[in-house]
Symmetry: C2
Subunit: 414 residues, 2 copies
């Protein structure tokens, strides 16, 4: 069991592999409408200010603010109504002193006007005359030119994952195409003499491939392009051949090992022959996932995950997802989707090991209760039954029932 002599804390292990990845995302031009979830490769500057004209933020009357000073319900200012600004049209009039113009929300401010009085604070007593019942300050109810975005200001920074709000902002600037990072190709190799394709019926002793598909799904979620290299038997030559091909064709490679110790050792040996420096981390102080292997071969990350499906899924989130984000050049904030919940049972911590424990979340009034899912970690449905994971840090002495814990969510839309 030489592999477990030096167990590295997961945060350190992740930092080590990330610091060895050079990010040169390849730009790919896409329609902004289709860019949801993609990552920008460079900062996008504003081609013009936004708005390009002074706009009203309310329905009301464009005025010269000075004409309204001192106006009140009991002593209104009387202004002559000289026109209406049509929506979507140039405000083709100029306000002279004591004049006003009808304007709608979003309408262009006429020349001479420097404020808008809300319609609620006016009244029309005679045709052509508006009573202003409240004074307006200069700039009131107006968006100035460039107040939203100034000329040449960065609209979207580099390394930003595009959300609906970014799509809206880009469209507002007329930027209908952008350069995003090409999806990094993540090669996936599943191994094990006992593993068969899911469409086959297993004979006694065989099991269907699970990890290729859960890994591919997580890679897709995070913005990579999974490329599956099938199921390789526990044979050194066959594994090396498949790994060399995947390493050559992809930007990163993930191998899920067969479940035996010898199969895992084989994965490490194969990573070492793929290129320098080879294995960086062999054994991580995490449970599940201790046998995880992290390497860099000729500038490409290569990760060996345990064959146990729960372990593979936890560690693809802990290690593979951040690697894909780094390859995308994403500026990662470290924000994670979590929910606070009351722990329902005592959790003894295996001292000195970071643990990720799957939990079910149960509604309890206006908060949540976290119910850990125990059972052998080889059970495939443990994760399907879970709503999220609790991370128990290695210095914790365990968690007590009733404590508030932070649950890392899976599959919530945000």
């Amino acid at each position: 069991m030489t592999e477990f002599l030096d167990l590295i804390p997961p945060d350190d292990a992740l930092r080590l592999i990330l610091s060895n990845i050079e990010t040169h995302p390849i730009p790919e031009r896409v329609n902004t409408e289709q860019a949801l979830g993609r990552v920008t490769v460079s900062a996008i500057p504003a081609p013009h200010p936004l708005p390009e004209f002074r706009r009203s933020t309310v329905d009301g009357y464009a005025v010269r603010a000075a004409d309204t000073y001192g106006a009140s319900e009991s002593l209104p200012a009387y202004l002559s109504l000289v026109g209406e600004v049509q929506m979507g049209q140039f405000a083709n009039l100029t306000l002279q002193p004591t004049e006003c113009a009808l304007i709608h929300t979003g309408g262009m401010l006429p020349k001479g006007a420097d404020a808008v009085v809300m319609v609620e604070h006016t009244q029309q007593s005679r045709p052509g005359e508006i009573e202003i019942l409240r004074a307006a300050a200069v700039g009131e109810n107006i968006i100035e030119i460039g107040e939203d975005i100034r000329l040449h200001e960065t609209v979207i920074p580099a390394g930003k994952r595009i959300r609906p709000a970014e799509i809206g902002g880009l469209m507002a600037m007329g930027i209908t195409q952008i350069d995003v990072a090409r999806k990094p190709k993540i090669g996936i190799i599943s191994s094990g003499d006992e593993v068969i394709h899911p469409s086959q019926h297993p004979s006694p002793g065989q099991v269907r491939d699970v990890n290729s598909y859960t890994l591919a799904a997580v890679v897709r979620q995070v913005g990579g392009e999974p490329i599956q290299y099938g199921i390789i038997p526990d044979d050194r030559a066959a594994m090396e051949k498949a790994a060399r091909q995947a390493h050559a064709e992809c930007d990163a490679l993930v191998i899920t090992a067969g479940s035996s110790v010898s199969a895992r050792d084989m994965t490490a040996a194969v990573i070492d022959v793929l290129g320098k420096p080879g294995v960086l981390v062999h054994g991580v102080n995490i449970r599940p996932g201790k046998p995880t292997i992290l390497g860099i071969c000729e500038n490409k990350p290569v990760i060996g995950l345990p064959g146990n499906p729960v372990s593979a899924l936890v560690n693809v989130k802990v290690f593979v997802a951040p690697v894909v984000q780094k390859l995308l050049g994403e500026h990662v904030t470290g924000l994670r989707a979590t929910v606070q919940a009351k722990l329902l049972v005592n959790l003894a911590s295996e001292s000195g090991r970071e643990e990720w424990i799957p939990v079910r979340l149960l509604p309890a009034g206006d908060r949540w209760e976290a119910d850990p899912i125990f059972g052998k970690s080889n059970l495939i449905f443990t994760m399907a039954r879970a709503d999220g994971l609790i991370r128990v840090l290695p210095d914790a002495t365990g968690l007590a029932a009733g404590e508030t814990v932070e649950v890392h969510l899976s599959g919530v839309i945000c």
Copy 2:
């Protein structure tokens, strides 16, 4: 301003429209590999138990537990090694008393065996003889037939959104295709005389369409198929024509109104002519989003959103996303991706109104600080600058700087 006489609390408004939606999702068969984010239409039963044979969870020796009782380091049990179970193969041997067989993690238990002793608790002193250094209980280090999933047990319930873990579980059962809800078609109409297509250059007074694209992106995120009906001028006949077509062709319709009060009133009138019962809610006690209109026309939800881009984006999340989930038949848990953060400034609450306030999240040691983004709510980039939203309930008297608040995240992967 008759529309604002009865402002309904947002939770009540949402409940009202959801309770009026009958869910009959149309099944669509997809490959399980491609089902990420889709929603199941019916419960999927297990076609066979999982595992289908008794498996070892460790590398070690399959034994008859009774042969190990009383075994210890100082007084080992001596068992005859009668063979090895090959991975992926039928365990073609039967253990007699005092016999054991080499077995690997995931290997099939041989007949006669009822426990596995980990290799770490054994030693081989002579060829063909294994010393057992620790007693094993019946069932130890074994997964029983059906322990993961029993025959006919529900593998995935109806209305479940497929995550990577569900894909893995389905593949393990050989279920390579499933029935998911067809994506509901959500018609989107943008309106306003001042609104032009993003590819056009605005003349003074004009602005580019933003809302069609942010709405479409949120609809896509939540699993619907957005269908855009373009930009309709503030003209009753034109709007009615477009709305009738979209209502006929789609499963739901969202109209973003022009920004003036009269344009919003027109939206309500058009919803009322599309079919019974028409407008259910006209005015919601939420900020931004007070002018939001919720209706049902001939069993199809129709929603009118304010034209203000921040307001449209907040309310598409609050109202449109749950409507799409209901149309999908999704079993909604109410879990939301949030993060706890320390509020940086005092927030006065507008008494009696539920408020959604965009915030930037700043790292502060191992926690987060929430910095509200103030400014006119018509600024398009407010949302692009925000990491999430704080929800301030109407009974709150405001929030004080230093308080811990819950921030609803946007665009975090989970």
